[in-house]
């Protein structure tokens, strides 16, 4: 009796050891490349540090400085402003998904075409859109020229640089959200529509009271992940407007952090801004997890 217990516990111990070895690799990676850097970032955010000599503790200096920093506030505002693309993209991609959910030919080809920008590298895409937005010979202005409109010099004009980046972001992300909506639409039970139709619901009413609620988890997921992604916009800015755009109009928060840290070597100040960014992302993710539970849309 007691021998079976010891044998089982020995077996368990062996299993525990093997499992621990298997998970040790990612856990060590997490400690080295996530947890330690995170703690260091928080520490560095309270210091004056140029990345070369030792950090000097300065308390909340960096944080108070941030709120008087015109460029920080501007880059934060720019980042938030460029998120206008999120609702625009959602509406268009839902419409696209509805169109592609019809039983008709050619949807596979359409799916591929709309999805191509998603998988294309953002660096290459930024280059080709920079060219498309060229004031004299760009594709956009040539298209506008056909309609008799004299297009602006998109990326050099304070009024158009952000809209230009938004247009590009919508183009880039459309295929992804369309695909998620399509997957959601295909899992909506047909009998809901049939029952609604029998009750005399119009197409609009069906859309409003069946489709919208049924795809809400996807909408929610897309909004949250797009905000997280949008808050970290960098590559487009760095390639298309290398100096932060005309009058700093397109500088994003990550672009400003990057510039402060690696160009100006103000690592302490940049760390403080990166901690603020991290906090914002954490809050958004936390809300997502909380609301997910309410939406019956859990991770398990």
């Amino acid at each position: 009796m007691s021998s079976t217990i010891t044998r089982r516990s020995r077996l368990h111990r062996k299993e525990h050891q093997a499992a621990l070895v298997f998970v040790a690799i990612p856990v060590i990676g997490f400690l080295l490349f996530t947890l330690f850097p995170l703690l260091f970032s928080v520490y560095a955010s309270f210091t004056n540090w140029n990345g070369i000599s030792a950090p000097v503790f300065k308390g909340l200096d960096n944080y108070t400085k941030m709120f008087g920093d015109r460029y920080f506030l501007k880059s934060l505002w720019n980042t938030v402003f460029m998120m206008i693309g999120i609702p625009v993209g959602l509406v268009i991609s839902l419409a696209l998904a509805l169109a592609m959910n019809r039983k008709m030919r050619g949807t596979t080809i359409f799916r591929t075409v709309y999805y191509l920008p998603v998988i294309s590298s953002i660096a290459a895409v930024a280059i080709l859109w920079q060219w498309a937005f060229n004031g004299d010979f760009g594709l956009i202005n040539q298209g506008l020229g056909l309609l008799g409109i004299d297009g602006p010099n998109w990326l050099q004009d304070t009024a158009t640089v952000k809209p230009a980046l938004i247009i590009m972001a919508v183009w880039k992300g459309l295929g992804y959200s369309m695909l998620l909506y399509l997957a959601a639409l295909q899992s909506v039970p047909r009998y809901l529509y049939e029952a609604a139709a029998l009750d005399g619901a119009s197409a609009w009413q069906q859309f409003r009271h069946i489709t919208i609620p049924m795809v809400r988890p996807v909408t929610f997921f897309l909004i949250v992940t797009s905000i997280i992604g949008g808050s970290q916009i960098f590559v487009e800015i760095n390639i298309m407007t290398p100096t932060g755009g005309p009058e700093f109009e397109s500088a994003s928060i990550v672009w400003y952090i990057w510039q402060k840290a690696f160009d100006n070597l103000q690592m302490g100040y940049a760390s403080a801004m990166s901690v603020v960014l991290g906090l914002l992302v954490f809050i958004i993710t936390f809300i997502q997890f909380r609301l997910n539970r309410r939406n019956q849309f859990s991770i398990d």
């Binding site: 525990h16 093997a18 499992a19 298997f22 998970v23 690799i25 990612p26 856990v27 990676g29 997490f30 996530t34 330690f36 850097p37 995170l38 260091f40 970032s41 560095a44 169109a99 592609m100 959910n101 019809r102 039983k103 050619g106 709309y114 191509l116 920008p117 998988i119 294309s120 590298s121 953002i122 280059i127 080709l128 859109w129 060219w131 459309l174 992804y176 695909l179 998620l180 899992s187 909506v188 039970p189 047909r190 529509y193 029952a195 619901a201 119009s202 197409a203 009413q205 069906q206 859309f207 069946i210 489709t211 988890p217 997921f221 590559v235 290398p242 990057w258 690696f262 690592m267 990166s274």
Partner: protein, 317 residues
């Protein structure tokens, strides 16, 4: 979808016209085409034609920048500025694609990108799969706490970690080498672990138990039973990770300075900065197109897996 016959509704032969019977927004066709519903059928066909038309216009807009890139890459330097613009270059300057290899370190860039993306995704996938196996099928104290701890790492954006990470790698002299891009990835990918763990829930515990009774080691079980079972999920995640590594820009731009170590994305960005001044747009576009090509090929070959895993990742949160 098979939900079609979930509920057998009575045949739609009501004399009353059903409001909104076209139901084109939902994409539902009337499930039974009976006599007297030809108008519905015709309406549906008209709807399909209209939808195809609208989708086609959209598709042209979506593909235009990519097509314009390719078209420009085949023009002469002056042909770029011609008005009205030529969509079909005259003459075709295929020579641009020969010039780019000597105009900058494009080949080195491709090599570096391949080294980084391949080493990270191959080794990282193995370590991730091993961890997913342990998290899903093995007993261990504090297993869920560890797993949740790892998951919480996903909430921390890379920009928050990049300054300390840079300092760490600078202190051991790894800046301007590919190692800072490779080494963190070798420890696995939390998203991949998460999905493989989910996928393993559908594999019965009993096969692991049975193999244990037969005296197989956990490593043997992993290799002979688990790996074959998770292959489709592993393949999908592998492709997504590979594309992400191939397309990465922020981490490379922090660590890599000299042309010999830069990855492809940095090389084309430098092409862009350098040759724009000389208005050599065909060259820039040819290089950009080359940078797009590998991922386009991977996507066209593995389209189904990629689309399925994207749809899965979105709906599972």
């Amino acid at each position: 979808m098979s939900a079609q016959n979930v509920i057998t509704t009575p045949p739609l032969e009501t004399t009353e016209p059903i409001p909104g019977h076209r139901r084109d927004r939902t994409g539902n066709q009337p499930h039974r085409a009976k006599d007297g519903q030809h108008s519905t059928k015709n309406g549906l066909r008209l709807g399909n034609i209209l939808t195809t038309l609208i989708l086609s216009v959209g598709a042209i807009i979506m593909i235009a920048p990519l097509a314009w890139t390719f078209s420009t890459s085949l023009k002469t330097k002056d042909g770029v500025f011609e008005l009205p613009p030529q969509w079909i270059p005259d003459p075709f300057v295929w020579e641009n694609y020969a010039r780019i290899w000597t105009a900058g370190p494009l080949l080195t860039g491709i090599q570096n990108s391949l080294i980084v993306a391949c080493s990270v995704t191959i080794i990282g996938s193995l370590t991730s799969a091993l961890a997913a196996f342990a998290f899903a099928k093995m007993r261990m104290p504090f297993k869920n706490v560890l797993f949740l701890g790892l998951l919480s790492g996903l909430m921390i954006p890379f920009p928050t970690l990049m300054i300390p990470q840079f300092t760490i790698f600078a202190s051991i002299g790894w800046v301007d080498t590919l190692l800072p891009l490779i080494v963190p990835g070798l420890f696995g990918n939390i998203i991949m672990i998460f999905f493989l763990r989910q996928f393993l829930n559908s594999v019965p515990d009993s096969i692991v138990e049975a193999a244990r009774i037969d005296g197989a080691s956990y490593l043997q079980i992993f290799w002979t039973l688990i790996m074959p079972a998770i292959r489709p999920a592993l393949a999908a995640q592998f492709i997504l990770w590979f594309m992400a590594m191939w397309n990465d820009y922020l981490a490379p731009i922090i660590y890599l300075n000299s042309p010999g170590t830069q990855t492809l994305q940095l090389v084309i960005a430098n092409f862009n900065a350098q040759y724009a001044i000389q208005t050599d747009y065909p060259l820039i576009m040819a290089a950009s197109f080359i940078a797009l090509l590998p991922v386009l090929i991977v996507f066209i070959v593995f389209q189904r897996q990629i689309i399925e895993s994207i749809a899965l990742s979105g709906s599972k949160g």
